[in-house]
């Protein structure tokens, strides 16, 4: 284990230390992020577009390689993991995407089952040899997100809200320790957005895990978050309870004030 400044306490589930990311050398998007997460429930990350919220989430499950810093999930360092170790860590992290990212030509239930691929050998994946238990769990999850009757439909025949439910079911199918959701409601209408947030909250509490949610809508974030993290220009400028976030904070995060009504 790496011990950097203020090293992780034993019970910290996810610990991000000094995380930096430069897509172009010398031009940092993330400029040293420190976050510790132990609690369950929704943790909202707010901030303007281009401030590195998506980059932060994608560094956590290593869809993007961080330039510097450490990410510890249950004391294992994700930032250095490679090959099999990385895949084992990834399956503990479920991810929900802004544009759902379902495999369009597979059916709904097949999409949910892809959440188990991290637990299967390539040979079993090739033979579509999912365990009976996994298949049952997948159908139960579809039931839980209210899409049981759509199980055999192709994913591209669903509406946006339905697709996002499938995306959530796929992430939960991994039996993860953490959920990441990158703008899960941005492509949805306000009512569907609330339903999706409720679903994320429900799974986070049921499965006793944190859900890190990038979100634009500050009011929606306040309504569901137990904790809010405000980011601006690649650094964390607020980290605390949603009640503690003031207009001054919001001004600092987003800049300007004309949008604050």
């Amino acid at each position: 284990m790496h011990t950097t400044a203020g090293s992780a306490e034993p019970h910290t589930l996810l610990s991000i230390r000094g995380l930096q990311k430069e897509y172009v050398a010398g031009n940092a998007i993330l400029k040293g992020i420190d976050i510790d997460i132990k609690e369950q429930g929704i943790i909202a990350i707010i901030g303007p577009s281009g401030t590195g919220k998506s980059t932060l989430l994608r560094c956590i499950n290593r869809l993007i390689d961080p330039t510097k810093g450490h990410i510890l999930l249950e004391q294992e360092d994700l930032s250095q993991a490679r090959g099999k170790q990385l895949r084992m860590l990834r399956r503990k992290i479920g991810m929900v995407f802004q544009e759902y990212n379902l495999v369009e030509r597979l059916t709904v239930i097949e999409n949910v089952l892809t959440g188990r691929l991290g637990y299967m050998s390539a040979w079993n994946a090739w033979r579509r040899n999912f365990s009976q238990e996994d298949i049952n769990t997948a159908f139960e999850l579809l039931e839980a997100v209210g899409l049981a009757e759509h199980a055999k439909k192709r994913a591209d025949s669903l509406s946006g809200g339905q697709r996002q439910r499938v995306g959530i079911a796929r992430a939960v199918m991994q039996n993860p320790r953490v959920l990441l959701a990158d703008e899960p409601t941005s492509s949805l209408d306000p009512k569907t957005a609330v339903e999706i947030m409720e679903l994320l909250e429900r799974f986070a509490l049921e499965k006793n895990m944190p859900a890190l949610v990038n979100i634009h809508d500050v009011n929606l974030a306040r309504r569901y978050a137990k904790r809010m993290i405000g980011m601006s220009n690649g650094v964390v400028v607020y980290d605390g309870p949603p009640e503690g976030i003031t207009d001054d904070h919001l001004k600092q995060i987003y800049g300007g004030e004309s949008w604050l009504v």
Partner: protein
């Protein structure tokens, strides 16, 4: 109406281009030169039509009396086409995957692309001659020829289909912790499978056609029978062979349409 530019008229936007005119003139001049250089004249075409008429006369009625020879040649052609198609398609799957620039690093994709380009360089007749010279007369040379031709054609199309996929779906499956092979199976293949089937049936079609050709240079199949019938002036047997080829191509077309409909 008030003119913004009161000084004279505007140019016609559809202005002629002297460079283009020169280009057309050069093409026309080259055509005239080539006709003269090769001594093509109208009288020769008229005479030629007479010969063609005599040939058609001798081709009719088609003679199917040597059907056993015809059938064995046909069977060999079919075998060449099917073995070559299946081998070629399986190899192309891997070659195509390894040359897709969005999934593979340059040090794999560039040499693979080179190999595929090499397979496309020569016409099947030339490849067939090379294989006949190296592995000898017969079906093996024909099979190898068509495998090479298949790779040159569909591996390239496979690679292009893979390069057009949505990487978002790939990203999502990678995020579940799936390994490389599982990502290919569950995020890449579903996106390209229908197109692969289309390319593969097209290649089967084209291999059926080419399997009747490789025989002409001694690489087995119906082409050999056809060539010797020509050389012995058995034009009625030639027409029987040609009719058989037409029939087999049409059946192939019909079958591949069915396959495509099932998988689309």
């Amino acid at each position: 109406m008030a003119r913004i530019n009161s000084q004279g008229n505007h140019e016609n936007p559809f202005k002629g281009n002297n460079l283009v005119r020169l280009g057309w003139f050069l093409i026309a001049a080259y055509l005239v030169y080539s006709f003269n250089a090769m001594g093509l004249e109208w009288t020769r075409i008229v005479e030629g039509l007479g010969h063609a008429n005599a040939l058609l006369d001798r081709m009719f009625p088609p003679n199917f009396s040597r059907w056993e020879l015809l059938l064995s040649g046909l069977a060999e052609s079919l075998e060449i086409a099917i073995i070559a198609s299946i081998t070629g398609i399986i190899l192309s799957l891997f070659f195509g995957l390894f040359s897709a620039r969005n999934l593979m690093p340059n040090w794999i994709s560039i040499p693979m692309r080179g190999l595929i380009a090499l397979c496309r360089t020569f016409h099947p007749v030339i490849i067939a001659i090379l294989f006949v010279k190296s592995v000898g007369f017969g079906a093996l040379a024909g099979i190898l020829t068509l495998v090479v031709a298949s790779i040159g054609f569909i591996a390239k199309l496979f690679a292009e289909a893979i390069e057009e996929i949505s990487l978002k779906q790939v990203e999502a499956v990678r995020a579940t912790g799936a390994g490389f092979a599982s990502v290919i199976l569950f995020a890449v293949m579903p996106q390209v499978f229908a197109r692969f089937i289309g390319f593969a049936t097209y290649q089967l079609d084209s291999n059926l056609r080419n399997s009747t050709m490789v025989g002409i240079v001694g690489a087995g199949g119906l082409g050999g029978t056809l060539f010797s019938a020509f050389q012995r002036f058995d034009y009625d047997f030639v027409s029987a062979i040609l009719i058989t080829i037409i029939a087999i191509i049409m059946i192939g077309e019909f079958l591949s349409n069915i396959v495509r409909r099932i998988f689309s």
